[in-house]
């Protein structure tokens, strides 16, 4: 507990403002509060230490000690694993929740298993592909997540299986669909649910939200096979699910840094809409002359994934509670509906589709601008201005306007930025 509070308490007590009992309770409250960040720091250093030692062992293993015989090398392959297992046992048998020990030993065992497998491959010159190595490693490490109840092990596991899926899904042999990835991800789902249920505002849960948010964006593209243009639709729908999830209870009360669904969703939708705001996008990238993918659309995985995600987005949209205030509705909430309609429209007229998209972006820019100035929030205000500026800049590629005019418009926009920010700051100070 910091000194000034203690001094103040004594002062208040001696002046008779606080009773001794209340003062003690206040003291106890602050003492409890101080304990939590320091224990969090121990966890961080515990994990960091385990990562460094584990990676160090992997590097030492990579040296490939020739002077030792096969037997000795094999024994050494298992030493870090056994050490990790002993550390895990110790952490579990200690009384009370020893987060630093739990997380540290779990991470160490995780890395030690990877080193052990690598060393065996080296000793026997097993060529083995990287994906097979990662798969074995991750399957061996999955029980650590549950046994040690370890957030870090779970994050490493998700990272590992994503790497595995990327090798299969995006690598030279990308004809293989990494279906196993989804099963492996599902195996971690109970742990993530437990985090959601028990530690909703913990860093561990937020880190999982960010990881899952990014991982799904990475792996979704692997489903692109026969009807690849439909993946644009799938991505907008996934981002819409993110955005709607992030702007509803229980996530809506979180800060932006702890709410990856809102952050990724809004940013992703805006980027995809800016791409789609060019009419060439519809005429060249989506409906490339013959639009041959439409013929095999219903047999492709892309359409079913898009529809599934759209179904989830519609469900979330209908669940939203703020329908009665029409002016409060963020255009990004129903952007996916516009995109789906535009996808149909784009087949007939690419210019018409682009116009639709531009209108939505304009609406989104104005919405944030208005929200920012009404609430005196500089973040929203500047996001709104940024959307409008980018939209205008993009349109300059389309139309043939003289440089002087473009220059003047940009100067005016820049002045707009200054003026809007200045006004809000002045409002705040007064």
């Amino acid at each position: 507990m910091n000194k000034p509070i203690k001094v103040n308490l004594h002062e208040l007590m001696s002046e008779g403002i606080l009773t001794q009992e209340t003062a003690q309770r206040i003291e106890a409250y602050y003492e409890g509060k101080v304990a939590s960040p320091s224990s969090r720091l121990t966890v961080v250093f515990g994990v960091l230490g385990a990562v460094l030692v584990g990676l160090g062992i992997i590097l030492i293993v990579a040296h490939n000690w020739d002077q030792f015989g096969r037997g000795i090398k094999l024994v050494w392959a298992f030493v870090p694993v056994l050490m990790g297992q002993i550390a895990c046992y110790y952490a579990l048998s200690k009384q009370g929740d020893q987060a630093a020990w739990r997380e540290g030993s779990a991470v160490f065992l995780f890395l030690a298993l990877g080193a052990c497998l690598a060393m065996i491959s080296q000793i026997y010159n097993i060529q083995g592909s990287l994906d097979a190595y990662l798969l074995t490693w991750m399957v061996l490490c999955l029980p650590i997540v549950y046994l040690m109840n370890s957030t870090m092990a779970s994050l490493l596991y998700i990272g590992g299986i994503t790497w595995y899926a990327c090798i299969l899904g995006y690598g030279p042999r990308h004809s293989e669909e990494p279906y196993l990835f989804w099963l492996l991800l599902l195996a971690d789902a109970p742990f993530m649910y437990k985090l959601y249920r028990d530690d909703f505002s913990s860093n561990g849960f937020h880190a999982h939200c960010w990881t899952i948010g990014i991982v799904l964006l990475i792996v979704l593209g692997m489903l692109a096979l026969d009807a690849a243009p439909l993946m644009w639709l799938a991505y907008v729908n996934l981002l819409a699910v993110y955005f709607l999830l992030g702007t509803q209870a229980p996530f809506s009360s979180k800060k932006l840094i702890n709410n990856p669904f809102r952050a990724l969703g809004a940013l992703g939708i805006l980027i995809l809409f800016l791409i789609a705001s060019f009419d060439e996008f519809w005429s060249d990238a989506v409906y490339d002359g013959n639009a041959a993918f439409l013929g095999r659309m219903w047999g492709s995985s892309e359409i079913w994934v898009s529809l599934l995600l759209m179904g989830i987005a519609i469900y979330l949209l209908l669940r939203k509670k703020d329908w009665h205030q029409l002016d409060q509705i963020n255009p990004l909430s129903f952007a996916f509906v516009i995109y789906a309609l535009t996808f149909v429209l784009g087949y007939f007229s690419s210019v018409g589709a682009a116009v639709f998209i531009n209108i939505l972006l304009l609406a989104a820019g104005l919405f944030y601008l208005r929200k920012g100035s009404a609430k005196g929030h500089l973040g929203f205000l500047n996001l709104g201005l940024l959307i409008l500026t980018t939209l205008i800049a993009c349109r300059f590629f389309d139309v043939n306007i003289s440089f002087v005019f473009r220059g003047i418009l940009f100067v005016l926009l820049g002045l707009g930025f200054f003026f809007a920010n200045y006004r809000i700051l002045k409002q705040r100070s007064s």
């Binding site: 298993l113 052990c116 010159n125 097993i126 060529q127 083995g128 074995t136 061996l140 029980p143 046994l147």
Partner: protein, 190 residues
């Protein structure tokens, strides 16, 4: 309750030790039971960057010419079965390549199909033992030595591989009967 986590812990420990142990067992089994083959190595594209701690091997006997079996539907990356025999000098040679395992007792290896040319007359495979791991300080010198040997062509360089039931384990790389590891030891360090 306490016994419950300990049981789970014991199972996890067993699982984590059993899988690497099984990998070791499989390799040791081939080394103990397998038939030895000597695969003559050859130089490959010298521009391929050296990867640090292993020497990349390429083999003379990775191609089958004058194949008479059907290769319809075969695609690059497929697993195929390479039937092995020894040539007059006692080096490994491909007898035939099939999609399925041989039913009779023939020494064979599972390998990856590299390409099929001329309507199946020429087949090339990639063996699962193209990397020979060495200590990181010795690997660069060993590779230079290895390529000099191959370029001069005065000595025979080959990989000693144990083959058993489709599995192959690279035991050593030898130069006229001497291990490359020992030979590299004799090179004066620069």
């Amino acid at each position: 309750m306490k016994n419950k986590w300990q049981l789970f812990f014991a199972l996890v420990v067993l699982f984590q030790l059993a899988v690497p142990a099984k990998m070791i067992w499989d390799q040791e089994y081939v080394l103990a039971e397998g038939q030895s083959f000597r695969f003559k190595t050859r130089a490959y594209d010298p521009n391929d960057p050296f990867r640090g701690k292993y020497i990349r091997l390429a083999f003379e006997a990775d191609i089958l010419e004058g194949n008479y079996l059907s290769t319809e539907g075969w695609e690059r990356g497929d697993q195929v079965c390479v039937w092995l025999e020894n040539d007059a000098d006692g080096f490994a040679k491909i007898q035939r390549i099939t999609a399925d395992k041989p039913t009779q007792m023939v020494p064979h290896l599972q390998a990856e199909l590299d390409y099929v040319r001329d309507n199946g007359a020429t087949i090339r495979v990639k063996y699962p033992f193209e990397k020979f791991y060495m200590e990181e300080s010795k690997a660069p010198a060993a590779e230079k030595y290895y390529f000099d040997l191959l370029r001069k062509g005065e000595k025979t360089v080959y990989a000693l591989v144990k083959v058993h039931q489709g599995e192959g384990v690279l035991q050593d790389v030898q130069v006229d009967g001497q291990s490359l590891r020992d030979l590299v030891e004799e090179i004066p360090a620069k």
